[in-house]
Amino acid sequence: MEVIAPLAVGAPLMAAAVIAATGSLLPRLAADLVAVAVAAATCVLCVLLLAQSSGGATVVWFGGWHPQDGVAIGVDFAVDGIGAGLAAFIAALTTAALVFSARFLEAEEAHLHVLILVFAAGMVGFCLSGDLFNMFVFFELASVGAFALAGYKVRERQAVEGSLNFAVTNSIGSFLLLTGIALVYGRTGALNLAQAGQAFAHAPADGLVVVAFALIAAGFLVKAAIVPFHFWLPDAYAVALTPACLLFSGAMSELGLYGLGRVYFTVFSGPLGSHREALEAILIGAGVLTALLGATMALLQDHLKRLLAFATVSYMGIFLIGLGTLGAAGVAATAIYVIGDGCAKAALFACVGIVQHRLGGVTQRRLFARGLRIRRTGALFALGGLLLASLPPSGPFLGKSMLDDSLIAANYGWVVAVVVACSMLTGGAVLLAAARVFGGLGTHPTGDRFSEEEGGEPEVEGSRNRTPAVMAWPAVALAAASIAVGLVPGIDRAATAAADRFVDQPTYAREVMSGQRVAVPSVSAPPLRAIDWPLGVASVLGAVGVAAIALRRSRSTGSLAAVADQLDRPLTAIRALHSGHVGDYVAWLVAGAALLGGLVALAAS
């Protein structure tokens, strides 16, 4: 269908332009309705694309410029299952975020709607695109929208600082990405993914190929917040408006990993394919480091949003582990895990938004025991924590189990222990916060030298004694969606079939360059191993255990001293590294890029 894919990006853009043009002339309700309707329509379009993808990739050449003699002279959208699925998920989260923001005070001049719609359009375009530079443009579109959304609560100092850190680090990441794209163009004369992949298919992995891949990977990994590119994420997510946090946590970071996977499999799998094992080791290693760091830091946080931000970092590490197996099984597992976990994290952020509205605070030391009034929100929050710990039989459980299976099959069985540990720690961190805030359990936390400033401003209009329906329903719906993802029959089969196509470079090139659609053969997904169910239950029990231990033994949230004395100094040192200073972050970014390049060079030698 030549109409659906362009409209999936064009409709939110045009709606945003109309809302921006009419500005304050438009009554608030009209702007809300238009925005929600357009977001929902985009979701429907993307679901249609997903349904079509079983017949092969949908390729749309803009302006009618089909390839001539094997040279792509126009820009295309090449939509396959994974791309369409991620786009549909993004559009659904956008609808939820727009509904959630309906009562937000800050949206008076409809700027918020414009920003969210354009942000969503950029992300959807990125998922659907088949051209390197076009991907860069949509990536930047989403990023600029994100910078504005992060700094939106401009009366708070932390928002200004967080947004600055976000913008500077991500811009430098984009420059690295662009330099890598330029290198690919210089060698192959192609910006189209399929054409570049064909040009590289039998080329050796020389200096240019290695450096191009390293730079592109570094650019994407900055967005995906992998250590040591991750420092900006907690700062930005802790200060953004709650609807923006829904989108950031659920979809934006995952975009970086999608980009890495897409570019690797379509362009670089030829020359770098023979060095696969070394590359797997690098990616999985980075993922393990990120997962552990994120999970540990999450447990030490007092500020609820910052806690969830570090949980996001941890999950990005886990998703990179799945992608890093460089195989279809890992990609399929990551796809399901992203959706299941994304919904859970979005639901958690929504709960924090409700807490901010009802109780006027966002740190555990200020909210201690005050959540007893809003027990239903507390129950939802705790459910979110259990979902993070991969409660069977939910979406995260399915994703995690598939991931564990793919790791065992790829001879990385020891990484399963890391994944289980991180889900225990992140789930435990959320349960700990839930117990303190909503249950009044444990001792009242006192501050330490890292205590966060509160953002005191009310975000939402209306009485503080009720939770508006537009805030409560998205939270419930997202949590329900997270559970439902695991229960949809055949979803693992569909994901595996789509992942098989995602990693298949020759078929992608053929479909794009010669216009033949190749139907995706249906596969049978391997059933979950017997060990997955006990692992899931163990994760949940472990999370509860972590929360219980931490409750009983720590005086202030920042110190795990009672749990492990030896850990206190290194943990404090790591916390101090997250200094909020943009120069520090950029220095680590450059170090990470150099390290990544060096490792890839070693892998390819």
Binding site: E109, A148, G189, V211
Partner: protein, 254 residues
Amino acid sequence: MTPRARLAVFALAAVGLAALLVWGLAGLPRFGDYEGRYGRIIARDTVPQRKATDAVGVTTFDYRGIDTLGEEFILLVSVVGVMALLRAHREETDESRARAQELERIRKAPLPSESLTLLGQTLAPIVLVLGIYVVAHGHLTPGGGFQGGVVLAAALLVLYLTTGRTAFRRLRAVAAFEAVEALGALGYALIGVGGLIAGAQFLHNFIPHGHSGLLTGGTVPLANVSVGFAVAGAIATLLSEMLDQDLLRSRGGR
């Protein structure tokens, strides 16, 4: 980290990154020997297919038009973002007291000399015409919507610099600029949809291409005009917003 530690980490990292960059860039074809077929095909086909002589302009608006759509909307989101980020500054100051203070400040501020004002008032229309020329001829000679739009907005800046703040205050119509910008962006998207309606693809160049001269290139000159509006509106909005900060300036504190 202490500044010294930060610099040490960076220095080490920069050595590594420099080595990587040099190694990668050395793999490029020799400077001046670029052989890519993509560019050659476009350079060969621009005039026969579109009758427009500026290959770069036609690439931007026709062959790779979807990139430009994204680019236009980046401009829109950036302008909306800047307006959102600077809005609190306006709301915070107590309205009537601020206005009185501001008028007082404007009255006391020294006016620019009359010759400067005369120069500005002469220059601004010339700059405006130049901007319109650059926008209109974007498909024939170097230029186009982006470049021309910035020149158009520069006319506004010339007026600010030379006519003093009172006159500038009167010219500032931020809502109008923002509307112009958004309409320009919308216009470009609608051209894309026009291609769809004409039975072909999104952003298809569906207008007849003409033979030579100004009315060639199909949708390219239209796109140039729409982008020109969008960019002029955007830069004018940004200028107004940021120069407004100067007018409303008061020392902020912790």
